[in-house]
Symmetry: C2
Subunit: 191 residues, 2 copies
């Protein structure tokens, strides 16, 4: 394995881990080099533009891909069932998916236009996939888009508040109850 792995990729992986864990500013190039097991100088050979180029590389490979979560729910037979399945799968996601998204929020102000556009493209693809999935229950494309946006706001809002900010440790409201209420409501709103 050591022979076949690309050093550049190793560096990006290490940087990604440290950036997400401690933040870009709190992570030094030295720290990254230590984790990879090379010197700083070697690192600057691979990334001529230094730390910022490293950030760029990390951003483009750290945008979480969640399309598969939508796919897994496409067998649902009712809108209510779809929302429940989707919500439960999203909440059950590997916690480091959320860590990555938290980090995106954190670094967003320092991203370039291109980097932001990359994130937007990926997120819109996700949201559109949801819209397509729910359109068969609604029949109307515009309504489906609004529905998809509503569902994503809900799910990410829960993630940020209850998981990132650890509200779950002090609130007795359970995610299942929120999901049930939302699913029932949104289904009822379309009848």
């Amino acid at each position: 394995m050591p022979e076949r792995t690309n050093r550049r990729d190793n560096i990006v992986d290490a940087a990604a881990h440290l950036f997400v864990q401690n933040g870009y500013d709190a992570t030094s190039v030295r720290q990254i080099a230590d984790v990879v097991g090379v010197t700083e100088a070697a690192l600057y050979y691979h990334f001529k533009d230094g730390k910022r180029e490293l950030l760029e590389a990390v951003i483009s490979c750290q945008i979480p891909d969640l399309l598969h979560v939508v796919e897994e729910c496409e067998g649902a037979e009712t809108l209510q069932d779809f929302i429940v399945q989707f919500g439960q799968r999203m909440v059950a996601l590997n916690p480091n998916r959320l860590e990555k998204l938290r980090w995106m929020v954190m670094e967003f102000p320092r991203m370039t236009g291109d980097e932001r556009a990359m994130f937007h493209r990926k997120h819109l693809a996700f949201q559109n996939r949801i819209a397509v999935a729910v359109e068969r229950f609604l029949g109307d494309a515009t309504a489906a888009k609004t529905m998809a946006a509503t569902i994503t706001c809900m799910v990410f809002g829960y993630g940020f508040l209850f998981l990132c900010l650890d509200l779950q440790s002090v609130s007795d409201v359970k995610s299942d109850n929120i999901i049930q209420l939302l699913a029932q409501g949104l289904a009822a709103a379309t009848r």
Copy 2:
């Protein structure tokens, strides 16, 4: 530690602004001192424990207070009306309220248990106030709590995705449509 001098408050204000704007790590003590118009040494006289104590002071005065938003909606005559009013007021909030919350998410991992508890207390007060406000439409305290949690997830999710991550600039879904859909749905779910 006698009373709070005026200077001390000036320092906290300057630090708060810089921390929220650029992040804790990217802000130097020197920078803060420059903005206030004193030297670093003077700053260390007021905050014996240095930069970390400064962060502590900033955290405790930066947790956004949103209770008044709930109060302003308490005249609503139906649940649907309440949600619409509340959602619109939240979206219309001064953008720097959201900046502060974004910053809380950013710095959360480095907060102490006490600092997190302070945030949790304040947020739960907010959420409970919503629960009390909607209880008259539901009659059931548990259902009101779930409803309050759902509404906050929705509103903060919109804030993070569409405002912090600027999804509004690339999505054609408008906040009003999301709010309307949610309000209609949640009202319908209780009938």
